[in-house]
Subunit: 451 residues, 2 copies
Amino acid sequence: MAKKKKEVKALKKKVSKLKSKLQDRSAAGDAAAAAPAKKKALAVSPLAPETFPDLPDIAGVRFASGAAGVRYAGRTDVMLAELAAGTTVAGVFTRSSTRSASVLDCQAKLGGDPAKGAAILVNSGNANAFTGKHGEDSVTALSTAVGKTLGVPAARVFTASTGVIGERLPHDRITDKLAELKDGLAGDGIAGAARAIMTTDTFPKGAMAEIEVAGTPVRIAGIAKGSGMIAPDMATMLVYIFTDADVAQPVLQRMTAQAADETFNCITVDGDTSTSDSVLVAATGKSGAKRIGDMRAAGARAFRAALTDVMRDLAHQVIRDGEGATKFVEVRVSGADTPADARKVALSIANSPLVKTAVAGEDPNWGRIVMAVGKSGAKADRDTLSIRFGDVLVAEKGWVAESYREEDGAAYMKQSDLVLDVDLGLGKGRATVWTCDLTDRYIAINADYRS
Amino acid sequence: MAKKKKEVKALKKKVSKLKSKLQDRSAAGDAAAAAPAKKKALAVSPLAPETFPDLPDIAGVRFASGAAGVRYAGRTDVMLAELAAGTTVAGVFTRSSTRSASVLDCQAKLGGDPAKGAAILVNSGNANAFTGKHGEDSVTALSTAVGKTLGVPAARVFTASTGVIGERLPHDRITDKLAELKDGLAGDGIAGAARAIMTTDTFPKGAMAEIEVAGTPVRIAGIAKGSGMIAPDMATMLVYIFTDADVAQPVLQRMTAQAADETFNCITVDGDTSTSDSVLVAATGKSGAKRIGDMRAAGARAFRAALTDVMRDLAHQVIRDGEGATKFVEVRVSGADTPADARKVALSIANSPLVKTAVAGEDPNWGRIVMAVGKSGAKADRDTLSIRFGDVLVAEKGWVAESYREEDGAAYMKQSDLVLDVDLGLGKGRATVWTCDLTDRYIAINADYRS
């Protein structure tokens, strides 16, 4: 009898996995369906990965997703993740001074007691932002209802909302769905969850890593949504990462902050920032691996590196789904007086509309890079500056390089993945940021958004 | 005989004025002709003023312009202004750390001895920027040649170059033209000068004021080029203002800096900054009005106000010629904790691609304004914030205003001149900046620029 039960369970899991894979194959169609009914379907980004990765199940996490009709009927718009007792949660959030009620709520809850489990609830369709006191009321209602449904403390329920801002969140539609979501919870539901949180995204985003902590395998699986800060109406970057490693909360928090700083804080689509951007990392400790109690514990370094890899992968996918993007651009700055100066220069280049339109036009316009270096506010010297497009030396010693031929630059710019490399020739400060080009599709998407 | 001479002179002047007017009428055609031969003609901006203003002659200033073939044959690409002995010169310049050789040279020359006159020489077609040591050589060659031709010290010759960067300026082509330019010098040549400095501009820009200093009339006339920081290849903001007032150089410098801070430093097309942006103000003292020797002198306040008016007018014209612009947008911020915070918020709104594309789409998308306030880094409180589109109250007390109807906002956004008004409700800090919308024309112009 017990054997039969086990077999059924295994078969059910297989069916679920197959269904999920099938869904992933038609991600393009899904993305189109997920777009607001009024909008034309968005074509999948030409920079999208070929397939959604095969993410490992994370012991101690179960997922469900469903259609609550938050804004549009028949659209998957809510995801629920149940986190086992003992799960520690860390997070980083938008620095916007107009951040949403759920962001403020999550920030307050991070350090809470993990003993009785936790949960994450995310809806799309409505951002529950700039809705006055109603925002807090909705967060409280959702946290309380999820807590009751799953038997976890409301103080351990982390919520996020993404979608139109300034409209009251009809949270009853979500709470009405919780029982159904609970029934659907499954260890292998992460691919469905990745799709449930999409808004203007043209493909679901996932990444994973498997490492060993003191000889025991641990897994990290993460999902993200966001195609740049696209519009507070409908887009925002949300990232959820799960691991079965056992990591003390303060350590997880520090690693999360460091890794986010090197990844999500180094990407920019248009320099705009959402009121709801959030990255949450949950560590269930169910791998059986030794606890990572401090930054020097066995496996801490490897875990931190793997966490950073997962975040970088997701961050790149966000850029690859940048609105209207046709080029993935890595901006590398070295030789700056300080790391902060390097970052200033890199972001100045990555956010410059002139650089981004030149990239869109496949124009090896190094003059615009000189301009962006100049306006950055960082220490720079025309005569020590050098610029490379990939391996092509373009400019040095205050002028165009003797070896440079315009046709080499032009040929390089035709690639879809580009490296713009600037050495300031002053010091040892380095920074790398990632961005995409600025095309007329970006304008079309954002100028017509609500009309 | 003397009478005859006078009559001839008067007639010549009349002919010159008529020619100039005729040219102004066909400014649109001129702008198209002035564009590089390889490019399609740029249509005149829909936000352009109807006509070039009738600028007064400024005693002590003579202008000439001509075609030196700096980059393209047959295109008016150089202007020369001769300034009478005693003319004081003040200026403000780009803060770019990669600023051009002529900018560095002008900065060094500002405080020089005015006794023996001065001159301004400007070329378009080549920016003489990022050309290594050749940049300085060209500036020296041009200053020396102009000095010899006009009999003024080379240390009183102010030059500027705008156009493609990274290519050596063929300054011989300009020095070869100097004798011809000298012969063409005329007191009423300012309209021609306004056209000679155009690059991607779709209309020539001029502004004027007439006031009294201690009972004596003085005149201010200014010209500008620039359609935003558009491309270091071909565009830059250059401004030349002339007055017959008598103003001590330190006073003129202080007034110029203050006025530029309230005008040119409050406009933004795309947040990018040229390596050559320059504003020069020359005061000949030939009006016979009392000298303005300090900031409290008779007429100082009126002169400063008039100078600011002229600069604001020119600054607005630069925005009205913003690449691809279809809307002129005034962003007013009040109630900030400090004036610096107000400016941060105003620039964050004015530079946000999401706000600018919403304006292009005539979308009353106040959510994007909340986003831009939030990301500005200034102190802000969702619950004290209010937003108005013109007189339409859109949002207040952390939510959309009770009285607000979407159709009112939508109707307002259809106007070509818009005021976006944000009150942070915290303090007394105020700032106003001006910008334009971001359209697919901007992308088309900048992505295809050099191809």
